[in-house]
């Protein structure tokens, strides 16, 4: 589902160029839950954004469902993200003025689907948000916010979910709920790439990778 080959990315910093990714490579097959562990600043988020078609690398290739992501135009990449990729972030990134239901429905802005509202309601129920549909993010607990973000990531039935520290701000119970949902998504045929610094979160993955000296290595 996701193939990353020879990915390099550097950023311009105050003291010259800084390497964020050096020859990173990984693959996540359909039905697979892969975690990438590493300390803060090791390039986890850069890897995730590059894999999601949001951050063009300096070199290397990214394939999603067989499509060369960076060979596509900006519009086609946006469509690819809308159709096949779901994102979950540590900071949730919910739209502050939209209700839970509307936040879950936000991907429908990119991909028109007449059944989107019905599916959004169903996802919200599945993630325990049935009573919170009309609430705005400010009225939700952190767990509810992340569950809203998770439901949003799944609205367009993506093939791949890219999760960046999704449990970083959650208590144990909510973290377990989110990670179980991701594992369930993978078991149902989807692919999950989770980047985290938390070893307990990484344990939910079927395959674990970690950054060592800016390189990705398989972890036993």
């Amino acid at each position: 589902m996701l193939t990353v080959v020879g990915l390099r990315k550097t950023f311009r910093g105050p003291s010259g160029r800084v390497s964020a990714l050096a020859d990173a490579a990984l693959s996540v097959a359909a039905g697979e839950f892969v975690s990438v562990q590493g300390p803060s600043g090791c390039g986890k988020t850069t890897l995730l954004l590059a894999a999601g078609g949001l951050l063009p690398p300096d070199s290397g290739r990214v394939q999603v469902d067989g499509q060369e992501v960076y060979a596509l135009s900006s519009t086609a990449r946006a469509r690819l993200r809308a159709e096949k990729i779901g994102f979950v972030f540590q900071q949730f990134h919910l739209v502050p003025y939209l209700s839970v239901l509307d936040n879950v429905l936000a991907p429908a802005l990119a991909l028109k689907d007449p059944s989107a509202r019905e599916r959004a309601t169903e996802l919200a129920r599945r993630f325990g948000l049935a009573e919170r549909l009309r609430h705005v993010p400010a009225e939700l607990s952190t767990g509810e916010r992340q569950r809203t973000a998770l439901a949003r990531a799944m609205l367009n039935r993506p093939r791949l979910i890219l999760a960046d520290e999704p449990t970083g701000n959650l208590d144990g119970e909510n973290a377990r709920l989110v990670l179980s949902s991701l594992r369930e998504f993978a078991r149902s045929g989807g692919a999950v790439l989770l980047v985290t610094h938390d070893p307990s979160a990484a344990e939910y993955a079927g395959r674990r990778l970690c950054f060592k000296d800016s390189k990705l290595q398989e972890q036993e």
Partner: protein
């Protein structure tokens, strides 16, 4: 989820930002509508003032003309048409002509329809002894006015009906005559129809009777000895032409000028009319100058307010984009295209423009209505102009879009990866 819903929710969430934008659109549209309303009220007021002044001038000129007509009657007539063989020395000595001409001349002259002559009055005059009262009088037989131009023409001398008599001041004062009283003249009975006020000339010893009866009493059937002609709009230099025209139609007559004062008064009247026209024109010019000043003021103020409003809307839109960077980042990550982000920001600008135009139109119309000159010429209903409303409803969103274009473009070009990496 539709973009419209997102826009409305965001507007409700950031009410102050939107309200400030709408306020600036209201100011821009309002100043435009108020300026146009004030100018419209000015034009309407000018029309009313000019119409009133024209009516006033017409009324004054009418009164002046009437006065002139009456003065001219009292003074005598412009032209006196006499038989050609009439000795003028005798005429001036006796106060009446001693030679005669056919009464039919009056009709002939009237039929010629000379543009220069408006009034024509044939008469038969003779100084005689009033045997019943033993005094000398001037007997004047008149038939009223022979209409020259149209039946609707206003006669300046009325006919004396048969069997009636009009007496001059000295006669009725000394004989103690009263209206309706029966008096005998040359053996025939007449009733006093009217008594003239004092004129201080030969009219005071004159008696006016019907021309037919005068001809019978004096044995001059079908004859007259003078025709009075009045050229209402004459100027002194035209008298020679009038004389020539009359001489062509009635070759065996002569024409003498009467009462040059009447001509002077006619000239004065013409000058008064010209002065009234000039005053009216000056009034129009003053109003045009005032309008020009107002227009010039509006031409500076309105574009300035519009420019200020556009800059303010642009600033607010930039601020809005800064506030919504995280939202833009996540929407782009979810697959929303940059052109959709552009449309979301421009859609908000359109709504801002529409609301600003509607409210601004109302406010501007109200302000313009209140600012119009007293007394007000425009009612609130008059102020409403559908075409202008439609124009501002189209123009304001377009201007708001233009002002928001750069911020919207900036929003569309935001790098989602950079935003998401910032957290």
């Amino acid at each position: 989820m539709r973009a419209g819903r997102l826009i409305l929710r965001e507007i409700l969430y950031r009410r102050l930002n939107f309200a400030l934008g709408v306020l600036s659109a209201v100011a821009a549209v309002g100043s435009l509508v108020a300026a146009l309303t004030v100018l419209r009220a000015h034009d309407r007021r000018t029309e009313a003032l000019v119409a009133a002044r024209e009516a006033q001038t017409r009324e004054r000129m009418g009164k002046l003309e009437d006065d002139y007509r009456k003065i001219t009657v009292n003074m005598g007539f412009n032209l006196l048409i006499l038989p050609k063989d009439q000795n003028l020395s005798d005429l001036y000595a006796d106060d009446y002509a001693s030679k005669y001409m056919p009464e039919e001349y009056a009709e002939r002259l009237a039929r010629a329809n000379l543009a220069t002559i408006n009034h024509l009055m044939p008469s038969l005059q003779q100084k005689l002894k009033w045997p019943e009262q033993e005094r000398t009088v001037i007997l004047i037989g008149v038939r009223g006015e022979v209409l020259v131009h149209s039946p609707g023409q206003m006669p300046i001398v009325e006919a004396v009906p048969a069997g009636m008599l009009v007496a001059g001041y000295e006669l009725h004062r000394s004989l103690k005559l009263s209206v309706g009283q029966k008096v005998k003249l040359l053996g025939r009975e007449f009733a006093v129809a009217r008594l003239h006020p004092e004129r201080g000339n030969k009219d005071d010893i004159s008696l006016w009777i019907n021309l037919r009866e005068a001809q019978e009493l004096l044995g001059k059937k079908g004859l007259i000895n003078a025709m009075l002609a009045l050229e209402c709009h004459c100027a002194a230099e035209r008298l020679a032409a009038i004389r020539a025209e009359i001489g062509r139609i009635l070759p065996d007559t002569q024409v003498i000028e009467f009462a040059t004062q009447a001509v002077a008064r006619a000239e004065a009247r013409t000058r008064a009319a010209a002065e009234a026209e000039n005053a009216l024109e000056r009034g129009k010019q003053d109003r045009a100058k005032l309008r020009h000043e107002r227009e010039a003021f509006a031409a500076v103020l309105v574009p300035l307010v519009m420019l200020g409003a556009a800059l303010w809307i642009a600033f607010l839109a930039f601020h809005n984009v800064r506030e919504r960077r995280a939202e833009i980042g996540i929407l782009r990550a979810l697959g929303v295209r940059s052109c959709q982000i552009l449309a979301i920001f421009l859609g908000k600008a359109v709504l801002l423009g529409l609301l600003g135009a509607a409210l601004g139109y109302g406010a501007g119309a109200l302000v313009g209505w209140r600012l119009q000159e007293v007394p007000a010429v425009l009612t609130l209903k008059d102020v409403l102009n559908t075409a202008l409303l439609l124009q501002v409803l189209c123009a304001a969103p377009a201007v708001a879009c233009l002002a928001s274009w750069l911020p919207a473009l900036w929003a569309a070009q935001q790098d989602p990866a950079e935003i998401l990496r910032e957290g």
